[in-house]
């Protein structure tokens, strides 16, 4: 089957005028001013393909060009270079309920929205009832939507999106709004759309969502494609790029950086290492200091890891990240934030670092990712072992929250009113 979306070396730049010409008067008085000016390349030579029926994630930080890419594909921006082919009808949802007019009833808004998205008038009319029913808003159809709750508005927006018969859907962070329950509903919708064989391109910076729902994903950084592959691998890369920037420190050693890249083994996707050190072992300890994989809630526990150095490293960073079974990062610790300098380590040195913490986590399974890194910008892992060890936090209560910190609840009852005797 031919790909649903095919993009070839797409580029897009924006003009950043050095001197803004904002009025016709200025333009007439200074005909040449502002014609030069820097260009900001938001997208550089991006190529990828999305297969029919695929749920494809486009990931990147703010400013990485992901929204520009989406807008180029959606036909809102004109690309400067490269080409893209779309097989079938495409609909883009940059925001839910764009173009809603608050002074009109739901029915009118549905019609306007559907026509704007390219449906014929007859199709739009025919779909009104379906959309209202889907959104569960039949009894409110004649109410001006300014009187709708935010939840109702979102339902309406989603219902329209689900009913425009697009073969390819472009969706941009529409899920950023709403609570967890609503987001879950949105993803149920996405899964339904995918099950119908439609293709979805999903732009987000929420790695959890990408890993859970996307078949494949692509990571953009500074307008360029960094990785394209299965969602999990892209997720790792994303965390790595993000984490690398946290370490702000002296000049990186360019030679070492190159070496690091070259020596990076491709075999173990859960491991990033440059060979200068190895995390040989890691474990959890309970309150008594005994190694344990069951950590009672509320006690002082610890995570520890032993690192063996194979080369000389000055002031490395030691850290650990804890994730729960929903892939949410609930805790991160690093010497980057506690010790400026950790000392000089030579080949053959072995060190054990211990992170002790109050176990305020809710009951459930947790995964620890220990890491040793060099100070410096860029990707500077010495060794990082994804979800290297796991432990179960035992708790007597189930809260479904990420943490269960000590708290108190006071009930102050108002003076009871005694019924008149």
């Amino acid at each position: 089957m031919p790909p649903a979306v095919s993009v070839q070396s797409l580029s897009k730049g924006f003009r950043v005028p050095s001197e803004q010409v904002n009025t016709l008067k200025e333009r007439v008085l200074h005909p040449l001013r502002g014609t030069r000016g820097a260009r900001f390349e938001a997208l550089r030579d991006v190529s990828f393909e999305v297969e029919q029926g695929e749920f494809f994630g486009i990931v990147g930080r703010n400013g990485s060009g992901k929204s520009t890419l989406l807008k180029c594909l959606a036909g809102i921006y004109r690309a400067d270079g490269g080409q893209a082919w779309i097989d079938g009808r495409l609909s883009a949802f940059i925001e839910l309920g764009v173009g809603f007019n608050m002074d009109l009833a739901a029915r009118d808004n549905i019609r306007i929205n559907a026509v704007m998205l390219g449906l014929s008038t007859r199709d739009a009319r025919r779909r009104e009832d379906e959309i209202l029913e889907f959104a569960g808003l039949e009894q409110f159809q004649d109410l001006k939507i300014k009187n709708y709750s935010s939840g109702m508005l979102v339902r309406l927006g989603f219902a329209i999106m689900a009913h425009v018969d697009a073969d390819v859907l472009l969706i941009d962070e529409v899920l950023a709004v709403g609570d967890a329950a609503f987001q879950q509903k949105c993803f149920d919708q996405f899964n339904r759309i995918r099950d119908e064989g439609r293709t979805v391109l999903f732009v987000t910076h929420d790695m959890g969502a990408v890993e859970r729902y996307c078949d494949r994903a692509m990571l953009l950084e500074h307008g360029e494609m960094v990785v394209l592959g299965d969602a999990h691998r892209v997720g790792q890369e994303y965390l790595r790029v993000n984490f690398a920037d946290v370490e702000t420190a002296p000049e990186p050693d360019p030679a070492a950086d190159e070496q690091a890249v070259e020596e990076e083994p491709e075999t173990d996707p859960l491991r990033s290492t440059d060979g200068r050190a190895e995390i040989v072992r890691a474990w959890f300890e309970d309150a008594e200091g005994n190694e344990s994989s069951a950590l009672p809630h509320g006690e002082r526990c610890a995570f520890a890891a032993t690192v063996r150095f194979q080369a000389e490293v000055e002031h490395p960073l030691f850290g650990v990240v804890l994730q729960n079974d929903r892939d949410h990062t609930v805790f991160a610790a690093s010497t980057a934030w506690t010790q400026e300098r950790s000392g000089l380590f030579r080949a053959g040195d072995e060190v054990t670092y211990r992170v002790s913490f109050d176990n305020v986590f809710s009951g459930g399974r947790y995964f620890a990712t220990p890491a040793v890194a060099r100070r410096g910008a860029g990707v500077a892992w010495i060794d990082r072992r994804e979800k290297f060890v796991t432990a179960l936090v035992t708790s007597t209560r189930t809260t479904d929250a990420a943490v269960d910190i000590p708290y108190a609840i006071d009930l102050v009852r108002a003076e009871a009113r005694t019924p008149a005797a």
């Binding site: 036909g75 883009a92 026509v115 014929s120």
Partner: protein, 285 residues
Amino acid sequence: MSATGLPSGRPLAGPSALGGDAGRLWRLTWTLAVTNFKLRFYGSALGYLWQLMRPLLLFGVLYVVFTEFVRLGGDIEHYPVVLLTGVMLFTFLSEATSGGVTSIVQSEALIRKVEFPRMAIPCSIVLTSLFNLGLNLVAVVVFAAISGVDFHTSLIQVPVIVGALCAFVLGIVLLTSAMFVRYRDIQPIWDVVLQMLFYGTPVLYPIEIVQERSAAAAEWLVTLNPFAAIVQQARHAFIDPTADSAAVAAGGWGHLAITGAITLAILVGGFLVFRRRAPYVAEEL
């Protein structure tokens, strides 16, 4: 590239003025215009009356001033009807162009987030104003009938006259709305031009007054100002067949051809500028 060697489907064209689909442009223009129109009438219980109020008030003031204090149109047949017709036509011009200048910028939220034929926005503004003109003309017809105006077969020219006016207005709206995205002083400039058009058109004063002073000036006024030609022709066709038609007032068909050419140039020029800017308005907003 797929295994078969060639990508399938349609190549991506990016945003444009027409969107490559005339049907879609028209549907969207129509839907937006009807919505605007509805909103105006939902807004208040007196909807239609409010809509009439503005031009009627302007007409009332002008009527009192120019029949009681300054007797500009004294010996012109049906001067009040001529004045009211001119005011209604000018109201259409003023409303459509003033709304049109800022239309693209006002629709920023839509333009930055949805792909659609960009021209639907300015076109819908003109169409909404045209609906209003239709309603206003009903009032003019009632007023004319009360005033004892005889209706003639030349009334069939009304669609042609309105069509020419629409072409003129649409050209201006396309040009100014596209330019306003970059040059924000277009709006005050247009306000001044609008004033000039009002006084440069025989609305308050009949063309005869100019002709008495200088026949050549009157001819050039009608030749170079398409709106003057339209208003004059409306008076000739609708109210008073004895009044000069646009062709006569312009000084012959040759001169009227120049008027037509100016109108066409504004329409085509406006369209070309709009078409050129349309792909980039989303990023310039």
